[in-house]
């Protein structure tokens, strides 16, 4: 699998990028708004100052007079520590003030205009207002200009800009943290699905029926379709095996019948022996075919497991009874030590499991021995222990014995398919139980326990 960058990281990076862009944008906007607001404040005070001075203009004996009001400059000192310059021009002649101030923009009478320029090595903002004053018979245009350096505006702007910068950085980090959380949260459904898929048992191919976000529906659908196809494919092959086993079993029965008839009719000992060998081989084949069929049945029924109330002791007793003739052929006796054990499950499957275990016990036991069945109960589970007096399970690992077609290391001379314990193990697993394999404590014989949860 080629791993590319994680969606979570990508999402976080993307959101962080967006947050960074927004931070810079908001910082820029706040700074420019602050600059505008500070500049406007200064403009307003400058305009008020110029207007206040213009209000004092009057004519005395044909001459323009004015008295600079204290407030006009005091108000400028109140908003900032900026240097102040002013000039009053009457009919193109400087009446008072700094005569080298830059000329104001031309304006209509009574309208306040603003200029920005350089004066005495500093940037200044100047407001000017022109008023008509009646001097004698003449109307004289008098222009009052009040200017101030812009350090206060710059200081306010840079203060707010710095604050906005700090806030933007803080905002960015909060946004990144939130992005990471958001990315994790939005990937959660995906992780949950992945977890629930990986939690499943090896043969659990049921469709995933969990609520999922719309974006994940296609993935979930595809997954479910894949699993359905897989299930069908497995089912088909199980069907095929069952069908094949079934088809093989019928002719085998015919062969066996014919061989038995032949056995009765021939008298030559050598031929009789040959026929017996044929019958034994046919029996083994029939048994293997039966186990294949059993296995297919298990695969079927496990998919839709019945949960009937059952008594493990009944099942064990019935199965043992059914196998009594087979055991008798080899002079093997069953000893039963059963106590009622209520469980839930599928009678057919459990019967199959017990039968396979008993079958194995019979098969690997020497003639004229005993196979014991014992039920032990503890708090939560029932344990059906099947003990034989055979050669045991060998020294290899026990787990592998339940794999399909795997047989123990010490079974030379005994015919077997290797499916018996697999079937038993699968049945027990489907019932929430397990198959435990061990060599008996006394050193001879195998000890197989079918463990099932009690009701």
């Amino acid at each position: 699998m080629i791993q590319t960058a994680s969606i979570g990281q990508r999402l976080t990076l993307l959101l962080a990028g967006v947050a960074a862009a927004l931070s810079v944008l908001s910082w820029g906007m706040v700074t420019s708004l602050a600059a505008q607001a500070a500049a406007r404040t200064q403009d307003n005070v400058l305009a008020a100052s110029a207007t206040t001075i213009a209000e004092t203009l009057r004519s005395e004996q044909g001459e323009v007079r004015l008295e600079l009001p204290y407030a006009a400059f005091a108000m400028l000192g109140a908003i900032s520590e900026d240097r102040v310059f002013y000039r009053v021009i009457a009919a193109d002649e400087v009446l008072t003030g700094y005569d080298d101030l830059p000329a104001p923009a031309t304006s209509e009478i009574g309208q306040v205009v603003f200029d920005t320029g350089q004066y005495r090595g500093a940037e200044i903002r100047m407001s000017s207002v022109t008023r008509l004053v009646l001097a004698g018979m003449e109307r004289v245009a008098v222009t009052v200009s009040v200017a101030q350096t812009r350090d206060g505006v710059d200081a306010v702007t840079s203060d707010i800009s710095r604050l906005a910068g700090l806030l933007s950085v803080a905002f960015f980090f909060v946004a990144v943290a939130l992005s990471a959380i958001a990315a994790r949260l939005s990937l959660r459904p995906l992780n949950l699905i992945a977890a629930s898929v990986s939690r499943r048992g090896p043969s659990d191919l049921r469709p995933l029926l969990r609520a999922a976000p719309a974006d994940l529906a296609p993935l979930l659908d595809a997954l479910n379709r894949l699993m359905e196809r897989l299930r069908l494919s497995i089912r088909r092959s199980e069907d095929f095996i069952a069908e094949a086993a079934h088809r093989v079993r019928t002719p085998l029965a015919t062969v066996r019948t014919q061989a038995e008839i032949a056995l009765r009719t021939v008298s030559d000992e050598a031929e009789k022996e040959r026929l017996r060998r044929i019958i034994r081989a046919v029996d083994e084949s029939a048994r293997s075919a039966g186990q294949l069929l059993d296995h297919a049945t298990v695969a079927y029924r496990v998919e839709d497991l019945a949960r009937d109330r059952l008594d493990l002791s009944d099942l064990a007793r019935q199965t043992a009874a059914a196998l009594e003739p087979t055991a008798a052929m080899r002079d093997i006796q069953f000893t039963l030590d059963l106590t009622p054990a209520p469980i839930r499950g599928d009678a057919v499957l459990l019967d199959s499991a017990i039968r396979n275990v008993l079958d194995n016990a019979i098969k690997y036991s020497p003639e004229d021995t005993t196979v014991s069945l014992q039920i032990v109960l503890d708090a939560a589970q029932a344990r059906l222990r099947v003990r034989d007096q055979g050669t045991g399970l060998g020294d290899g690992p026990m787990d592998v014995l339940t794999e399909r077609f795997r047989r123990g290391g010490n079974v030379a001379g005994v015919v077997g398919s290797g499916l018996g314990l697999t079937i038993a193990a699968e049945v027990l697993r489907a019932h929430g139980g397990r198959l435990e394999l061990e060599n008996c404590e006394n050193g001879s014989g195998a000890c197989v326990s079918l463990v099932l949860p009690l009701v």
Binding site: R65, L66, E67, L68, P69, Y70, A71, A72, F73, A74, L76, G77, A78, E81, R83, V84, F85, Y86, V94, L95, T96, G97, Y98, D99, D100, R120, G121, A122, D151
Partner: protein, 347 residues
């Protein structure tokens, strides 16, 4: 610069840089090296000498060249490009105008940062004393009269005893004295009693002075019964203490101007580093807790005086108002109208 000429042609008979005659006092305090800190000031030499000595105790290698001149001469000298490293004056308005017009260099240190906001303007000009305007009286000339504590009392006393006070009053000549003009204009702004007082003083043929010290001397000698709007620095109080009760210093309870003595480093300064050190030393003394031992009061002392009720005159562009030539001409005309209701005294 026509503006400057307009403004100060009225103050000065000569619009030229300070000439030798205009320098009232001068002393060179030699140092061990050839580095010289040039200080131009309105503060009397004997008042400021301890500060120079203290500075030289820290930096013995630095020589100090100290010149005393009137506030208006000082102002014009700086405007005309006089060479100096430090400018000290009590005429706040003239100092402020120089700074506003770009004649000062910025200076910043821990000391300037420690100043309260009202005691500095930008990083350009710094106040290191607060000094009130006071009334100095000759106790003998007031015998049998209740000492006035408000302008109303003072006006009433003068009005009721014209004979006693005829020719016995003194105040600044606001036409010549920058500090006197500042006191007068601020009083005009603050109380209407000022003009009524001027009327009364004018009728009693008030004498005009250039400087506080001469007024105090004349009060002490008995030539004057009362000097109005004297700068109440320690010198006045010292003299009052030494006069065995003959001279008394009174603060008007209704209102008293408080000025800030300010210092700045002029744009043409050569020894800006040394000037900065001197500024730091002055500001350190300005913020001292105990006022003793130095001729000039610290910043904090008078500001907190409960009877004053008013803070010191604010350093700010409003100080430019009365320096405007039109305003000045109008103010002086009114002042002369009030004061000169009699033939000028032979001086």
């Amino acid at each position: 610069m026509r503006f400057a000429c307009l403004a100060f042609g009225l103050i000065l008979s000569l619009g030229a840089p300070a000439t030798a005659q205009e320098i009232e006092d001068h002393r060179f305090f030699p140092g061990t090296s050839d580095r010289v800190l040039r200080v131009v000031s309105t503060t009397d030499l004997d008042v400021f000498e301890p500060y120079i000595r203290a500075f030289q105790a820290e930096r013995p290698e630095v020589a100090v060249d100290y010149s005393v001149m009137s506030s208006s001469v000082l102002h014009q000298a700086i405007r005309d490009g006089a060479q100096a490293d430090l400018v000290i004056s009590s005429a706040m308005d003239l100092q402020f105008q120089l700074v506003n017009d770009g004649f000062a260099l910025p200076y910043r240190s821990d000391q300037t940062d420690a100043l309260p906001d009202w005691a500095r303007w930008r990083d350009l000009i710094f106040a290191f004393t607060t000094e009130p305007a006071v009334v100095v009286i000759n106790t003998a000339r007031f015998a049998g009269l209740e000492l006035p504590t408000t302008r109303q009392d003072l006006i009433a006393a003068l009005r009721d005893n014209p004979d006693r006070f005829q020719d016995g009053l003194g105040t600044y000549d606001v036409r010549d004295s920058g500090l006197g003009y500042l006191f007068a204009t601020q009083e005009d702004r603050s109380t209407d009693a000022y003009w009524r007082l001027n009327e009364v003083m004018g009728r009693l043929r008030t004498s005009f002075y250039c400087c506080s010290s001469q007024m105090i001397d004349d009060v002490a000698s008995g030539r004057l019964a009362l000097a109005y709007n004297v700068l109440g620095s320690y010198a006045a109080e010292e003299l009052a203490r030494g006069s065995e009760g003959r001279v008394q210093v009174i603060r008007m309870q209704d209102f008293a101007n408080v000025i800030l003595r300010t210092v700045f480093i002029p744009a043409g300064a050569q020894e800006t580093l040394l000037a900065g050190m001197m500024v730091d030393m002055l500001l350190r003394l300005a913020l001292r807790e105990t006022p003793d031992g130095w001729p000039l009061p610290p910043l904090s002392q008078t500001v907190e005086g409960p009877s004053l009720g008013f803070g010191p005159i604010k350093l700010g562009p409003a100080l430019l108002t009365y320096l405007d030539p039109l305003n000045r001409r109008a103010f002086l005309a009114e002042w002369e109208n009030a004061m000169e209701q009699r033939p000028p005294l032979p001086q």
